[in-house]
């Protein structure tokens, strides 16, 4: 599989979850695990460009596919990705635990709907739980991300 554009060897253990493989074998700890049953969305990554729950997949299922994690959006010496920048500007994060999952979902949302309606915004983030923000600032961040992306 390719992770953030880099070819990676297959995981040794066939029952290893993709989320555990990313975090503990590849050291990509930006992908978080909040529930291990596919509801909270903290572990969202892009799988061939579309958001998926990495806690509901085995790592071996990713063989031959492209996985993008939060670390793959912007190198540490580069400016933030527009979605990351928008979350910063709009105070769209507090503890930051759910944030990578939200950011990956929003990247997927804006790919599908570059100028989303309010309903599409809610729909696009309705697979991610946040316990800190109350979502208002995240909605603002999605709209701001759409602006920044279109610039």
């Amino acid at each position: 599989m390719k992770v953030n554009g880099v070819a990676q060897p297959a995981p040794a253990d066939p029952r290893r979850l993709l989320s555990d493989h990313l975090r503990h074998d590849l050291g990509l700890t930006g992908t978080h695990v909040g529930c291990e049953h596919g509801v909270c969305g903290c572990c969202t990554v892009l799988f061939d460009g579309a958001p998926v729950r990495s806690c509901l997949m085995l790592a071996v299922q990713a063989e031959g596919h492209d996985v993008t994690t939060i670390e793959g959006l912007a190198a540490s010496d580069e400016p933030l990705h527009p979605v990351q920048q928008a979350f910063h500007e709009c105070h769209g994060l507090q503890c930051g635990f759910c944030t990578p999952g939200f950011v990956m979902s929003v990247v997927g949302l804006l790919h599908e709907h570059p100028d989303p309606t309010p309903e599409q915004v809610d729909e696009g983030i309705s697979g991610n739980l946040c316990r800190c923000t109350g979502y208002a600032s995240i909605r603002r961040a999605v709209r701001r991300a759409a602006e920044l992306t279109q610039k």
Binding site: D13, D20, H32, G34, C35, V39, C95, G96, C98, I138
Partner: protein, 779 residues
């Protein structure tokens, strides 16, 4: 001192690394750690006849399986954190149960293995022979005491406390009108997105224990580990790195894993980690809010409260590790922003076979607010008066501060409201709420509230200017997302005249600051924020003295601004703060970075010793702030809701918040706290319910069935502030962390009651609950 940063909407300094996936949460740390799993009781109440760990120990890859008998502290009760004379029958669990389990999720064995997968396989092989015992699950059943949770606690009552203000019996007897209410509030769960985690390493050569813990109180954890393992505190480091939300339950100590993980790391000579999964979080992590209130109120024909008697039971859960702080807070906060001339409150803290309780955001207050607000609505209904008008007639007025309520507060003092303007909050909320929307089945709810914030005993801070001119600051309390690093930097930057970006804050790391209490009770800004101001102020004074010596001027003529210490009125006459940091440390050996300026043949000669009289080297200081009492924040929420009469779906049409937390450090951060608190309140009022069955099983221990709101359930919240500074601290601030959640249940209850015409006397509501209530009313 100018206030360039204090009060400004400064964007957060902690965002960059969190957004890039470079945050540092406890489970992110591996470093060759063994992984561990706790075996937990599947029964709410049972005797343990035997535990067989032989198959688990034999599994390849398993390093150790520990039972209570394997622990040197296995027969020691965990501490009661806050003892109280009224807690006559306090009980705490042991690290691992070996005799009786008293709630589903109580730990009985600890498995350590090469990885999590093997540890979970081994945990499945642990055979425990349980003999089920009768289960007590509701607070009412506990009070009835048909069965006992602890054999040696008669009546299941851990504590009883009665407080009297005035003469309630006489006032009730003389009151023109009286009303009784039976009110019920169920348990809730804080559910931070990061469950709990602990990582520990013992270094034999350094004789040093290092623990990473997703805790709200690393300094207390460190103290406890030092006692338990008989180490000097200086040999124990506890770090709360990035913590993925706390909301109260992470202030608890000790959860069993917090002892077992360090113990195993010391025994096995390798780092050990434990990361909780979501299912066990639901039963193993403390909950809160279960209370049943019997209220009797006496009032006059204008709706003024003359006497209030509240007799409530508080669901302690299986143990009382946190003492009786929660019911004490409820008892103190029932009167809220209202004048209650005669008030009697009695509570009994009762054991149930459910997860222990300790503070969850709001901590005793949402239920107190619910009890009082439901009572005022009942008075309005009885007298056919406007609900708002009844509130206006009972509010404490702005010229009545300081206002003494007459009951005990959680810090050992009496409840005294320091400042506020409650009528202004209500009027502003009504103004923002605006006219009632058209349509049927629409209801309005409004609730003011108060919150005692910023309890002591103290917090401290260390501030240092480096020779680079950068500033580092540290405090003992950790952040769980409240933007401490930004807020503390704002406070320090103002006092040192530097850019907020030049201040780097570390919090919750005992290596950087070893004293302190914790992040809870909306106290961080009041205690640590003021400590930052004290420490930075000391550094500023020291900088002036060092610079005055160099510039040959009076320190009183100097100011700190633009990254320099300069003569007031002559901004070009000064010395950069970096150079002052160099001069503050007279030296023999230059080590680069401009430090040659402080060496013996370079520094300007003057008589006397190189270190000025009474001066310590380095441009640094440590300061503390210890409040004399709580700073009482307040606010008012109001909403219009619509309830579908067939599906009972709730639609929040408008939700407004007016908030007074004294002087705002950073409105961006405060509004984020409010929005998040309201969302949590809405979840607790209408969506989230811990569905315990009669056997004490939590039937919905997953995010599939415990319905935490998504974005689709939470409306936009309109927020405004008024600022009545607290006279009790130099910055004039009051806490803001919990306020958002406190009145939401009361607001939703009042609005739904009006929308449907059904009396609402319990929390949480749900479509099913409203359907049942409507059916009951029809029949």
């Amino acid at each position: 001192m100018t206030t360039r940063w204090f009060g400004a909407k400064v964007q957060r300094v902690e965002d960059d690394r969190l957004l890039r996936g470079n945050g540092h949460f406890t489970d992110d740390i591996d470093d060759g750690a063994l992984e561990s799993v706790l075996v937990r009781s599947p029964f709410a109440h049972a005797r343990i006849n035997s535990i067989d760990v032989s198959a688990a120990r034999a599994l390849p890859g398993v390093s150790a399986v520990y039972l209570a008998a394997d622990l040197p502290f296995g027969q020691t009760d965990l501490p009661i954190l806050i003892p109280h004379p009224n807690l006559t029958h306090g009980r705490t669990q042991r690290c691992l149960a070996s005799d009786v389990v008293r709630y589903v999720g109580e730990a009985v064995a600890f498995v350590v293995a090469e990885n999590r997968y093997i540890a979970e396989d081994a945990a499945d092989l642990v055979e425990v022979d349980y003999e089920p015992l009768p289960v007590v699950i509701t607070p009412e059943a506990s009070a009835a005491a048909e069965h006992l949770v602890h054999d040696d606690v008669p009546g299941n009552v851990a504590a009883e406390m009665i407080q009297d203000v005035g003469d309630v019996q006489s006032a009730l007897a003389a009151a023109p009108h009286r009303k009784r209410l039976h009110l019920r509030f169920e348990r809730g769960a804080a559910s931070p997105m990061e469950a709990r985690a602990v990582w520990a390493r013992w270094s034999e050569p350094e004789h040093r224990l290092t623990v990473y813990d997703s805790t709200q109180s690393p300094t207390s954890i460190r103290g406890g580990l030092a006692v338990l393992f008989r180490l000097p505190e200086s040999d124990v480091d506890v770090i709360a790195p990035d913590v993925g939300g706390g909301f109260g339950p992470k202030i608890m100590l000790f959860y069993p894993d917090e002892l077992l993980v360090p113990f195993a790391a010391m025994r096995l000579g390798r780092p050990v980690k434990w990361t909780e999964d979501r299912q066990e979080h639901f039963t193993a992590v403390n909950q809160e809010r279960g209370q049943v209130h019997e209220v009797e109120v006496g009032f006059d024909g204008d709706g003024r409260v003359l006497a209030l008697d509240d007799d409530f039971i508080h669901d302690a859960g299986a143990y009382t590790p946190y003492g009786i702080i929660l019911p004490i807070i409820t008892a103190a906060q029932v009167p809220g922003p209202y004048r209650v001339p005669n008030y009697r409150v009695r509570f009994r803290d009762v054991y149930t076979n459910a997860t222990p309780t300790s503070p969850y955001r709001g901590a005793g207050r949402p239920h107190a607010c619910f009890a009082m607000e439901r009572t005022l609505d009942a008075i309005a209904a009885e007298l056919a008066l406007d609900r708002i008008e009844v509130r206006r007639r009972n509010l404490i007025q702005s010229d009545q501060f300081p206002y003494e309520v007459g009951v005990a507060w959680q810090d050992g003092n009496r409840v005294i409201y320091d400042s506020g303007n409650y009528p202004a909050l209500v009027e502003r909320a009504l103004q923002m709420l605006g006219p009632r929307p058209d349509g049927d089945h629409i209801g309005m709810g409004l609730s003011p509230y108060v919150e005692g914030t910023g309890v002591g005993p103290y917090e401290g801070a260390h501030v240092q200017v480096l020779v680079s001119g950068k500033v580092i600051a540290a405090t003992g309390i950790p952040s769980q997302g409240q933007a401490h690093a930004t807020a503390w930097a704002q406070i320090v930057a103002d006092r040192l005249g530097v850019d907020v970006g030049d201040v780097e804050v570390t919090s919750g790391d005992t290596r950087k600051f070893q004293w302190g209490v914790g992040t809870f009770a909306s106290r961080g800004a009041v205690t640590a924020g003021n400590a930052m101001a004290v420490a930075a102020g000391m550094v500023a004074e020291k900088a002036k003295h060092v610079a005055a010596d160099f510039l040959e001027v009076d320190p009183a003529d100097l100011e700190l601004a633009g990254g320099a210490v300069r003569v007031k009125g002559s901004p070009d006459r000064g010395i950069p703060l970096a150079a002052v940091a160099v001069l503050a440390n007279p030296m023999r050996y230059a080590f680069g970075g401009g430090t040659e300026a402080a060496t013996q043949f370079t520094a300007r000669p003057r008589p006397g010793p190189p270190l000025l009289e009474g001066q310590e080297p380095g441009l640094e200081a440590t300061g503390y702030f210890s409040p004399v009492g709580s700073a009482w924040a307040a606010g008012c929420h109001a909403a219009y809701v619509r309830v579908d009469p067939k599906t009972f779906r709730l639609e929040i049409l408008k939700y407004v918040v007016v908030h007074d937390c004294g002087r705002l450090i950073n409105p961006l951060v405060v509004e984020g706290q409010i929005e998040g608190g309201v969302a949590q309140g809405i979840g607790g009022a209408f969506y989230e319910r811990l569905a315990y069955d009669a056997d004490g099983q939590l039937r919905n221990a997953s995010f599939m069935e415990f319905l935490m709101p998504y974005a689709t359930e939470i409306p936009e919240i309109e927020i405004d502030h008024i600022e009545t500074p607290s006279p009790l601290n130099p910055l004039g601030i009051k806490g803001a962390g919990e306020a958002g959640v406190i009145p939401v249940g009361a607001v939703i209850a009042s609005a739904v009651e009006e929308a449907l015409g059904i009396p609402i006397t319990e929390m949480p509501l749900s479509p099913l609950k409203l359907y049942e209530l409507s059916q009951a009313q029809t029949s």
